[in-house]
């Protein structure tokens, strides 16, 4: 909080609402049986319905409805047992029917809430206004021919959920956290893969500013189709500054649609209000209203997976993790699953530490996701077991871990190969201790004269003599016993 733009006349705060278009995970399109696979050759996944051929009629994909209801439940939102598809009419070359089938005044999901975990540990609730189902348009490709455009209808009819927040977001950072949290929930639910690069999640940001202390809602600008969390934050930052400058210099802000240019880091006017489409929404007469009973909702509710907020609560309560560590682990479903796999047979706090510090460090460095981790959860768990049962020391463990990253081998194999087993045999340790004491009479004298901190030096010598394999605690015990005798 506290993101204030200082002007000459006022201090300004931001009012932000986000509209996220999330592609529903579904094999088939919203109103036809065509495939939704990414990356197919142009116009290879197009039915007569998707191409808007004469006489073709949409038939609703029931799975997409389930996915939307699941998402609504995940957002703790009101599920509308009756909702209506409406046509949004406008012309575009890659929209074959001349209208988009969407939902207007009767969406499938109503008001809900998303909780943001702020970096300072506080929680912030952002209202969800609605979620509705709609079909995607195709794609126009303008740069393949000097004066022609190509149309690819593979995306035409792909099911999308439009998730609209209330204008509760106040800072670019909150916008970023909102998007990440929403993406996390969608991935947990398995209703959207949240892949912004492939366009399966896109964001429009509605931005306005107002003097701090005011409750008015001033004219907003809509920044369309931003395709990364970072760009959304940057676009909001730029746009807010621009609007403040307008007001401060005595001007006004016009309601318009703007585009974010990530190369220049600025937003540009795309369409002013005068040229805004009149979409002429009306209920689609080709489709019946979506209606389902409470049992349908109850069944989906029952099958809902554990969501990040609940998982976080469980990790802190059952595993004794800090809220921060738990938050880091649950943010991505795959990370949380990995962690739980690691923690199965070992100390969960130690496991959290290893996953967050060591494993995430390696993944970041390599720029890979946890799915491509060079170290399996099972192996990492085993490594931690080896530490806990004193087979290896923490220091040795770091070396073993590095070898695991490089080779993908099990920790046992590496320990075995490199003969790294910690020496816990008292005989061997005692022999090493006796040798060091015998060779360093002067140091022994110093210790005996009261310089007890010399113990550390003796431990170091024993470790060195055993190539680091001796158990440091056992060395220390043995040395004390002999030196104090």
């Amino acid at each position: 909080m506290g993101y204030i733009i200082k002007g000459e006349k006022h201090n300004w705060e931001l009012v932000i609402g986000l509209e996220v278009h999330a592609q529903v995970i579904s094999k088939a399109k919203l109103f036809s049986g065509s495939s939704t696979d990414f990356g197919g050759g142009p116009n290879t996944q197009v039915s007569f319905i998707d191409a808007g051929m004469p006489g073709m009629l949409p038939v609703l994909n029931g799975h997409a409805v389930e996915q939307a209801v699941k998402t609504g439940l995940g957002l703790k939102a009101k599920i509308n047992r009756r909702s209506v598809f409406a046509r949004k009419n406008y012309f575009y070359a890659d929209m074959p029917q001349g209208y988009q089938i969407s939902q207007y005044d009767q969406p499938i999901v109503g008001e809900g809430t998303l909780v943001l975990d702020m970096p300072d540990g506080s929680l912030r609730e952002i209202g969800i206004e609605r979620l509705h189902l709609e079909q995607d348009a195709g794609k126009s490709i303008h740069d393949l021919h000097p004066h022609k455009s190509y149309i690819d209808l593979n995306r035409s009819g792909i099911p999308l959920m439009e998730i609209v927040s209330k204008p509760d977001i106040r800072t670019p950072e909150e916008a970023g956290i909102y998007l990440k949290k929403l993406r996390s929930i969608l991935r947990y639910l398995g209703t959207c893969d949240g892949n912004m690069e492939e366009g399966s999640m896109r964001c429009d940001a509605n931005v306005s500013v107002r003097p701090v202390g005011s409750t008015e809602l001033r004219t907003r600008c809509e920044i369309k189709n931003v395709n990364s969390v970072r760009f959304v934050m940057q676009a909001i930052e730029y746009e807010a500054r621009r609007q403040v400058d307008c007001y401060e210099s005595g001007g006004t802000v016009d309601q318009e649609t703007r585009l974010y240019d990530s190369n220049k880091g600025e937003t540009r006017s795309m369409r002013s209000k005068e040229f805004a489409h009149d979409y002429r929404y009306f209920p689609d007469p080709d489709l019946l209203p979506i209606e389902f009973d409470e049992a349908f909702v109850t069944r989906l509710q029952g099958a809902l997976p554990e969501l990040p907020d609940d998982k976080l609560a469980r990790f802190t309560k059952d595993f004794g993790l800090t809220a921060y560590d738990a938050g880091v682990l649950v943010a991505e479903k795959e990370n949380a699953e990995y962690f739980e796999e690691v923690a199965k047979g070992c100390d969960p706090k130690l496991a959290a530490n290893w996953v967050i510090t060591n494993l995430f460090g390696v993944l970041n460095k390599r720029g890979v996701e946890i799915g491509d981790s060079p170290v399996s959860a099972k192996n990492l768990g085993r490594l931690i077991e080896l530490i806990s049962d004193n087979t290896i020391s923490s220091r040795m463990a770091k070396e073993v871990f590095e070898a695991m990253v490089e080779t993908g081998k099990t920790p046992d194999a590496i320990v075995e190969e490199r003969g790294m087993k910690q020496i816990t045999d008292t005989g061997a340790i005692d022999a090493a201790v006796d040798k060091i004491i015998a060779e360093n009479a002067d140091k022994v004298a110093q210790y005996k004269s009261g310089k007890v901190q010399m113990l550390g030096w003796f431990v170091g010598q024993v470790m060195k003599a055993t190539q680091g394999k001796a158990n440091p605690a056992m060395c220390s015990d043995a040395l004390k016993k002999k030196l104090d005798a």
């Binding site: 007569f48 191409a51 808007g52 051929m53 004469p54 006489g55 073709m56 009629l57 949409p58 038939v59 609703l60 046509r87 009419n89 012309f91 575009y92 070359a93 074959p96 029917q97 001349g98 209208y99 455009s149 149309i151 009149d278 002429r280 929404y281 009306f282 007469p285 080709d286 489709l287 019946l288």
Partner: protein
């Protein structure tokens, strides 16, 4: 049996070559032809050839946009194979015309619009497929008002269709009604044994009345709309147009049925409509709506209507005066709802993927040029009306209000059917008029549908039966309406009227 049939068949063939007796084949009803084909009195190919010959002779009617003679012969031969193997369907070998609003695989489909130039679908509409599956033989694609928008079949890009009827003593070409004008004209003139029509506000019933044939608009949802070029989705409904009530019952049964590809089609068993015939109307209560007697209703039609009531009474039914108080709002309501849906349904004709394209300087320019060149005046008018009534600021006053009135009209019928089993009205306020008349006055044209539109808005079934002739010898029709999904009663009432009227069908030419 077999040698006899062969003899009969060859006899027909022999006679056919001489010419005249071909008319025997084109004058048959579907029911008769079905029987005679089964008895092998003639072949499906002979039946088809006779109709193709009639089509050639009657080209002047302009009833067809596309004739598919070769395809028809091929299918007739297949029918003959099935018939001789005893595997014929319910319409095996019956030559039919298909309104050119139904998409037909591999056959040009135009909706009588320039904008669909060269459009040959790679799919077959559910209804035409069902008719094919029943063994019928498509002779061609029938002319209509452009995108089914019109009541006189004068808006077709392919020119007006003529009514085979002429007024006594006047050599004026008359309209066949519309939008299923080609269907009505070709059935009346014995070019086909039956035809598909579509009815959005009266497009089956009104042309049936104008051409002196039977036209049935079943309950909304009875026939699949899949593959039928859409005009107004919440109103469009396919139905049969035939020369007899029995033929309509036979044909509707083949056309109807649930289609998972059309979300608005009903998951109901299709009754054997033909089996309902002959049950009469004894004990039925027949509603006579007092609001259907407007000032513009000619005395002849008023008299015919009274006669219809008498016929039903004589057959044991009880006439009951009823009120459908929102009738006067039906036409204005229809002319908001239908154009609104049409304005959206016709957005796909944009020059991008199929049909006509007129190049332009930009995408918007291409759209404007293509649509200006591709759509005729009436279609453009309705797109503009529809766009207007859905616009921000007007939606509530027009579209939303129209939906509310539509619900009231529906309620009128629900209330009426508490008291009666069927409703009898005239089909259209006048008989057929001359080509060119009323064409500069859209409102006068829209008034043609004043009696048919309310049932369309309510989604209930309705039929027109030819019931008499005007003083100058033109067909007049009576309309029967029944409860939703009660086409059986509809057919019963229609048949009683048909029997009583003894309507003089045109002779086969």
């Amino acid at each position: 049996m077999r040698p006899m049939a062969t003899t009969a068949s060859s006899a027909f063939r022999k006679l056919s070559s001489k010419g005249a007796p071909v008319t025997h084949l084109t004058s048959l009803t579907i029911a008769d032809a079905r029987e005679k084909l089964a008895k092998k009195e003639f072949t499906a190919l002979e039946l088809t050839e006779a109709h193709l010959a009639a089509m050639e002779r009657a080209k002047d009617l302009n009833a067809f946009i596309t004739m598919t003679g070769d395809l028809a012969r091929e299918r007739a031969r297949e029918s003959d194979k099935r018939l001789s193997a005893g595997q014929g369907g319910t319409l095996e070998g019956i030559p039919l015309g298909i309104k050119d609003l139904f998409c037909t695989e591999g056959v040009l489909t135009t909706a009588a619009s320039h904008i669909l130039d060269g459009f040959t679908p790679r799919y077959e509409s559910t209804v035409s497929q069902k008719l094919r599956d029943a063994g019928s033989v498509m002779l061609g694609k029938l002319n209509l008002d452009e995108f089914a928008m019109g009541s006189a079949n004068i808006t077709s890009y392919y020119g007006p269709v003529k009514n085979p009827w002429k007024a006594k003593g006047r050599d004026v070409e008359l309209v066949p009604g519309g939008s299923s004008g080609g269907s009505a004209s070709s059935v009346a003139a014995h070019l086909v044994m039956g035809a598909t029509g579509t009815d959005t506000g009266g497009s089956i019933r009104q042309p049936a009345a104008f051409c002196g044939i039977v036209g049935v608009k079943p309950t909304y949802g009875r026939c699949s709309r899949w593959g039928v070029v859409a005009f107004a989705s919440s109103l469009d409904q396919a139905g049969p147009m035939t020369r007899t009530v029995r033929d309509a019952a036979i044909m509707l049964r083949a056309m109807a049925g649930y289609d998972p590809k059309d979300s608005t089609s009903a998951q109901l068993e299709v009754p054997d409509f033909e089996a309902a015939l002959g049950k009469g109307v004894k004990g039925l209560r027949i509603g006579i709506p007092k609001e259907y007697r407007p000032a513009g209703l000619g005395p002849e039609l008023a008299a015919l209507w009274d006669k219809g009531v008498e016929w039903l009474k004589a057959a044991g039914a009880t006439p009951v005066e009823i009120s459908l108080p929102h009738t006067k709002s039906a036409l204005p309501t229809y002319y908001i709802v239908a154009p609104a849906e049409a304005s959206s349904n016709l957005a796909r004709y944009d020059g991008v993927r199929f049909g006509l394209r007129v190049d332009g300087k930009s995408l918007d320019d291409m759209y404007a040029k293509t649509r200006a060149a591709g759509f005729g005046a009436e279609v453009r008018r309705r797109i503009m009306i529809g766009t207007y009534v859905l616009s921000a600021g007007y939606y509530d006053a027009y579209y939303l209000k129209a939906q509310k009135v539509r619900a009231l009209i529906n309620q009128d019928f629900t209330d009426a059917f508490e008291k009666v089993d069927a409703i009898l009205t005239p089909t259209a306020p006048t008989p057929a008029f001359g080509i060119g008349e009323k064409s500069d006055d859209p409102i006068a044209m829209y008034l043609n549908d004043v009696f048919t539109v309310p049932a369309s808005l309510a989604g209930i079934p309705g039929a027109s039966v030819p019931a008499g002739l005007s003083a100058d010898g033109l067909p007049l029709g009576l309309q029967v309406l029944t409860r939703r999904w009660d086409e059986e009663t509809l057919f019963r009432v229609c048949q009683v009227l048909e029997d009583a009227a003894q309507f003089p069908l045109l002779p086969a030419v």
